[in-house]
Subunit: 242 residues, 2 copies
Amino acid sequence: MNIESAAVNILKRGVELDTKKRYTEALVCYQEGLQILVDKIKGEIDDSNKAYLRKKVEEYMNRAETIKKLVLQQKEAGQFHEQVHIENNSTGHSYKTLFGRFLDEEVQYVSVEDPYIRSFHQCQNFLRLCELLVRSCPNLQQIVLITSKDGKSEGDQREWFTNLSNDLANYKIQLIVKFSETLHDRQITLSSGWIIKIGRGLDYFKAPENKFCLGVYDMDLRNCHETTVDIVHSKNIKQSYG
Amino acid sequence: MNIESAAVNILKRGVELDTKKRYTEALVCYQEGLQILVDKIKGEIDDSNKAYLRKKVEEYMNRAETIKKLVLQQKEAGQFHEQVHIENNSTGHSYKTLFGRFLDEEVQYVSVEDPYIRSFHQCQNFLRLCELLVRSCPNLQQIVLITSKDGKSEGDQREWFTNLSNDLANYKIQLIVKFSETLHDRQITLSSGWIIKIGRGLDYFKAPENKFCLGVYDMDLRNCHETTVDIVHSKNIKQSYG
């Protein structure tokens, strides 16, 4: 695969997502593809090739700008809604790939509602999410987790959260864990207004077959259970956190 | 932190690395910083700000181009040498951050010489490296590991490599493990000519304090042992693999 075809593949994927109105994902593809094309132009000697690439860059840049405005309008109107369907046994759905594009310097508080952050591997999923938040949100101050108690190993669960909480404190991030026995919905709410609702909650990855499989660490290589992800935006979130 | 200061920080880091002749790392910073500035220009209304940003973009682009040529010249002359010193207890040194910039579509074969891929956590490090190679090198065909046998758990070690080998086969990548009792040097050789020599080999991460620490999964958050990394380029590698 040469560099140009890499750009073509990413841009094609962008158009595909764009057609499905999965705008924020399309934007990521357009931006990555454009970066490759722009680098390509710099190295191109042939004038007609250069002109062709320039034209393509302009086209995709304009489309990217249009999408940005569209997303902004939808956010303002409280009408933003994107849906991602994760197929059974598909890969490429790490937390970062799924919603990393919404994690930025605007995020100061994150609330995670998920009744199943109880068993060891579920709590490890939550740890992975915390790692991603720490890396992506430089102004993060607080994570609130609302989950249910693990009947079998409540003591362990408490110890795990205590360890995680102590470590997050080193990054000046407060972890607050609340228990609810009536919680059913699963959603991640960012103080920037984005709400990510994963049908299965954080626990949508299949277990690896053994400890030496690709995908033990890199969740983009891990097979998934079928689930639907809805992403919406609300302007009223900042207030309730304020 | 606003977007502009994010760009400034990355570009500053680029200049710092540039001054230390750590050119390929500097390039990554310049490119990331430039991307942010270019995005910023699009959204900027004030003309004098726009002109200022344009000037900055041009400056850094020119420097990036110069470095690219410099690296190419050094590679051609067989004189490329970059050294990274990892300080004791520092973070930000995952395999991807350390040498991910050399992993691309040019890499078809990778050889890993490291006498200490023996214990469980060392073999897990090797798994992490394999995950990174699979994700970054679309044309990868073969990984050769040369290491030594684990006196204590040779059976386990063999089983781990068998599992990994079976899984890599799903990606059409062959894993060949060779054992040597006299091996001392540690180096990763890419068929594209890059050679990465890590003083301690792959095992330069400190163990996490417990299983719910940040850095259990994201190695950029993991504390490191002190070690020195030398990166060189040889034009003769393709032949020996050919």
